[in-house]
């Protein structure tokens, strides 16, 4: 029995290590390529013969990476801020107020969440074109002032778990809805709000479809994902630079994650929605 258990232990750990190598492999190979010289990146040798750290500098020098980073940061920050301002009150209302149509409202939230963005793209694009806001990222930022279905859904799921007694007590003390929200709900919902904010920020940081639709052809107005998508086209034989750019685009996300790991994992399990 113990021998069998020992064998199981070995098999399980061997499998886990093999899997871990498969998950890490792509990152390692990309990093190695990013450090190769132009010539070596086209050969079959996988280990850099010369560690070309200058590639990272070259990426900045040869593309608008810095501008794209700033654009992406502005887009993601503003969109997240606007999302919070609009979605927290909506989620609060859906979780706390009793009113006719409450169930319907929540069904609309779920439907909106599940709606592929491409379905409604044509008419919305035409509206922004009429307002002369295409060729900018505003069509992606401004709608966040009117609530984001996914965020409302997640926040509402969290807010309904806060026992009613807390808000009831505050209500008896004569607190207004706004005060209850700020002094009772928000402090308790901090993990959920942090998770939703991070999700929103990451969504925008990674978003390709939105900027592709609205950012226009001028590189000055692009985001990182747009820039990276065409990077290879401009530096067609230089896989090493393309891989260096790929790492540079990914690095901020990973760094943020390592600092906010707990928020993330809690948030992810929140999306799992246990029945």
């Amino acid at each position: 029995m113990t021998r069998r258990r020992g064998l199981m232990w070995i098999a399980q750990h061997a499998l886990a290590i093999a899997l871990a190598l498969m998950f890490l492999g792509p990152v390692v190979l990309v990093a190695l390529t990013a450090l190769m010289t132009d010539e070596q990146a086209l050969t079959s040798r996988l280990w850099p013969e010369q560690w070309n750290w200058a590639n990272f500098g070259d990426v900045f020098a040869r593309s608008e990476l810095l501008t794209w980073t700033v654009n992406t940061f502005v887009y993601a920050s503003l969109a997240t801020l606007f999302m919070l301002v609009s979605s927290v009150p909506a989620a609060y209302a859906l979780a706390r107020f009793r009113f006719r149509g409450r169930k319907l409202a929540f069904l609309v939230v779920i439907s909106a969440m599940m709606l592929p963005p491409q379905v409604v793209a044509v008419p919305i694009y035409l509206v922004w074109a009429r307002l002369d806001l295409t060729d900018s990222l505003w069509p992606l930022i401004l709608p966040m002032l009117f609530g984001d279905a996914f965020s409302i859904f997640l926040l509402r799921q969290f807010l309904i778990t806060i026992p009613r007694d807390y808000t009831d007590a505050a209500r008896v003390d004569g607190c207004s809805d706004v005060r209850i929200l700020f002094t009772v709900i928000l402090p308790m919902a901090r993990p959920a709000i942090a998770a939703v904010a991070l999700f929103s920020f990451f969504y925008c940081w990674n978003d390709y479809y939105g900027p592709l639709l609205y950012a226009g052809v001028d590189q000055e107005g692009w985001t990182l994902s747009l820039g990276l998508a065409t990077f290879k086209a401009f530096h067609s034989v230089q896989w090493n630079l393309t891989m260096a750019a790929t790492l540079l685009v990914t690095a901020p996300v990973i760094i943020v994650f390592l600092f906010a790991q707990r928020v993330f994992i809690e948030g992810v399990t929140l999306t799992g929605v246990k029945g």
């Binding site: 779920i110 709606l115 379905v119 998508a229």
Partner: protein, 314 residues
């Protein structure tokens, strides 16, 4: 984890919250009207018209006739179906397997968790560009490593047969979210159930089937349905893979043939995008949009049924 809300009859002082709810929800209601209801109705309107941003002309059902005889619509629908039938189940099963393995490990679990989760954070564009490079048929590291073992690797993103499986590999690599969700669900299964099953002489597989699966099936179902809805919207990875693998050198996507190789990566949302925003056939794109809407809503209904069974909607 979520607890189902307790629905108590509203006490007297809670009556008449409709007005306040309306006030609090008003920005979102405006949002729903402007970004959800209006564009849906408007899409129906445009689908009966020819519209290229300059002239609007009523053409009845012509867009519909054209769309349903368009080979690329059929092809993109079949590609989307492929993703639903193969990619989503592969991802769910893979994530479940990895999560199950993680629960068994006595040591190193924390580090492995981070390793498995991190790739899911890599921006979609970055991950796809990296995979197109890694799986490059000629000089890509994967085929070179395979060659060292005497295996001739496939053409991956360069062949119509291997392009979608290559994207599936990318999806497995990025399955960290699902792994974490399943892991949380598996750890939630009460220990004593396993002990009871073990006393009854149930083996590992039997325990999984009779204890684990029933407890985690709502989470599994939720994950599968959201996976399907995500597959229906699948756009970025397919588009980037086509662009980079085809070696397209344009910047705005005007001359590039979508779906490279041989339309094998053309998904419904992509076809819509190119029709509407590259060829500027807004009317025809509206028909594609409605088709996409019907497909997405079908799966959303499945999800809603699942939700109401799990009492998420109350």
């Amino acid at each position: 984890m979520m607890v189902s809300p307790r629905v108590a009859p509203a006490p007297r002082r809670w009556r008449g919250e409709g007005g306040r709810a309306l006030l609090w929800l008003s920005p979102w209601i405006v949002g729903v009207a402007v970004f959800f209801v209006y564009p849906l109705l408007s899409t129906v309107y445009f689908s009966f018209h020819r519209y290229d941003l300059f002239t609007l002309e009523f053409i009845g059902l012509d867009n519909y006739r054209y769309a349903f005889s368009d080979a690329r619509v059929l092809q993109s629908a079949l590609n989307t179906l492929w993703l639903v039938v193969f990619m989503v189940p592969a991802q769910v099963l893979f994530a479940l397997g990895v999560a199950q393995l993680l629960t068994k490990l006595k040591s190193g679990g924390g580090l492995l968790r981070t390793i498995f989760y991190l790739p899911s954070l890599v921006p979609m564009v970055a991950g796809t560009v990296a995979f197109v490079y890694l799986l490059n048929p000629a000089t890509g590291p994967v085929n070179q490593l395979l060659a060292r073992f005497g295996i001739t690797g496939p053409d991956w993103f360069g062949s119509a047969a291997w392009a979608k499986p290559s994207l599936t590999l990318l999806a497995l690599w990025g399955a960290g979210n699902a792994i974490m969700i399943f892991l949380a669900a598996l750890l939630d299964v009460p220990k004593h159930l396993y002990e009871a099953a073990a006393i009854d002489g149930a083996g590992a597989w039997r325990q999984f089937r009779s204890v684990t699966l029933p407890v985690i099936s709502p989470v599994l179902m939720f994950s599968a349905v959201t996976g399907v809805i995500y597959a229906v919207q699948y756009f970025t990875q397919a588009m980037i893979a086509s662009r980079v693998a085809s070696g397209a050198t344009d910047s705005a996507g005007t001359t590039f043939t979508p779906g490279y190789p041989d339309g094998s990566l053309l998904t419904l949302p992509q076809h819509l995008f190119h029709t509407g925003f590259r060829d500027w056939s807004m009317g025809l794109a509206s028909v594609h949009a409605l088709l996409l809407f019907v497909v997405a809503m079908l799966f959303t209904l499945v999800l809603l049924r699942q939700f109401s069974r799990a009492e998420v909607v109350s």
